[in-house]
């Protein structure tokens, strides 16, 4: 579904992503793990068209989207839940969800109901200003908002960041159930243990390069990964 070949991304003189390639097949959950500053978010931003790769190709659903504008990429079925949620804090919960459905002709009542079933909290608070939600609720809103565009591939950037353990469990359960329901997932996480648990395959990113890859199980048993990311 997503095939990334030899991309290089720069922030001014800084070479942030060094010639990486990876792929996500239809129906998979793929995790991208690595330390803070390894370039994980940069990869997702490049997929979404917020940043540009100087080389290579990004093929999504059979089309090269490397040079496509960000708003067109969403239309082709690639949605992102950005790091730090980035919900519209001054708009209501419902308006945030409506913005998620911006690419659709109209807000589908059915999709909205699906999301309210997935996140009952959002239904209770749909008229509330999003800035008044708790961190976990904001994460749910960010996910619900991305789902409103009916993505084929959902990319999640650090969905567990800053959340209480109970919420983290819940978020990962929801990601699993989304995948079961047919959404392909690309997950970026610092919480490597959790990510490898639910991932079919995973890549390890270190200072802009992919150093390891394998199935979730293989990586969670590899010595290198255990030492560096799973605390021994």
């Amino acid at each position: 579904m997503l095939e990334v070949n030899n991309i290089n991304v720069y922030y001014g003189p800084i070479h942030a992503i060094k010639d990486i390639s990876f792929e996500v097949k239809t129906g998979e959950t793929v995790a991208l793990i690595g330390a803070n500053g390894a370039g994980k978010s940069t990869v997702l931003k490049t997929m979404s068209g917020l940043l540009r790769s100087k080389t290579g190709s990004i093929v999504f659903d059979g089309k090269d989207i490397k040079k496509a504008e960000a708003h067109k990429i969403v239309r082709s079925g690639l949605a992102q839940v950005p790091e730090g949620r980035r919900i519209f804090l001054q708009m209501t919960v419902l308006e945030n969800l409506e913005m998620g459905a911006y690419t659709q002709k109209a807000v589908s009542a059915e999709e909205l109901e699906n999301i309210f079933t997935l996140f009952p909290r959002l239904k209770e608070r749909r008229k509330q200003i999003a800035g008044t939600l708790s961190g976990g609720e904001q994460q749910m809103l960010a996910m619900g908002r991305a789902l409103m565009s009916k993505p084929k591939l959902l990319m999640l950037d650090e969905p567990s960041m800053g959340l209480a353990p109970l919420f983290v469990e819940q978020i990962f359960e929801i990601i699993k159930s989304l995948n079961r329901a047919g959404t392909t997932i690309l997950l970026v996480e610092q919480n490597a243990g959790k990510a490898l648990e639910i991932a079919d395959r995973a890549y390890v990113l270190e200072t802009g390069e992919i150093t390891l890859s394998g199935t979730g199980k293989e990586l969670s048993q590899s010595d290198e990964v255990r030492k560096a990311y799973l605390g021994g």
Binding site: S48, G49, L50, E69, A70, H71, K72, V74, R75, A79, Q80, P82, R86, I87, F88, L89, Q90, M91, E95, E98, M99, G100, Y102, T103, G131, L133, S134, G135, Q138, R145, A146, S149, G162
Partner: protein
Amino acid sequence: MSVFSTIVSQIFNGLQSGSVYALVALGYSMVYGIIMLLNFAHGDIIMVGAYIVWVLMSLLTLPPVIGTVAAVVGCTLLGIIIEKVAYAPLRKSPRLSLLITAIGVSFFLENIAQLVMGAGSKPMPTIIKGTNIEIGDAHISFVAIVTIIVSVITMLLLTLLVQKTKMGKAMRAVSEDMDSAKLMGININRTISFTFAVGSALAGIAAVLYSCAYPQASPTMGSMLGLKAFVAAVLGGIGSIPGAMIGGFAIGLLEAFVSAAGLSVWKDGVVFTILIIVLIVKPTGIMGRTMSEKV
């Protein structure tokens, strides 16, 4: 005249000029909200609107309706063109470059107007005619009443547009978080263009209403009006739509009462003192809020 009638007529004077300030301040505030630019060329759009009315009505003796519609359409197009030609290429540049460009555009428009229309002022034709109203022994001009009603209706429509329509919601989303809005599939360039179009259309309406109150068109007429509307936008909280309305009316009323107190020479000074006080005491203005991010 009794004290009561003085107060009543000054309230209407204040609301009349306040309506115009509010319409102009809305354009400032909306543009600032979306691309963080103080569009100092905004006042000059009004000047162009006034000349459009003058050319059509005085030169070509066309009816007021045509003059009015042409001014609004002309200002809207001008706003879109200015954004596309002068500001869009600077989307990724530092904000200071944008600000300097805006000042440049302002000088450009003023000088082009001087070149084409001459430096002297042109007397504006009568656009709105009607009988004045008497409340007690206070005279309320018909123009004042039309101005206030038109402004209030315009502001209600704008509020509906921003709160309820898909494009309005997209404008709010872009002004809050541009990258996040891109991830929703919102076309940023189109949304910014639309914002300039709406702000400039309001300036076109303001141009017609202002020309009714001060029937003269001159190349620099927009600069003082623009600056006062800017003060109104800052007072209300720049970026806030209800703030711009409140700020506009507040500045208009303040000016009217300063003049009524016999200090009309000090009118402009008082307005700019307000700017200084707001910037020192409450830089976010009346409706502006500082949002703290939740983790």
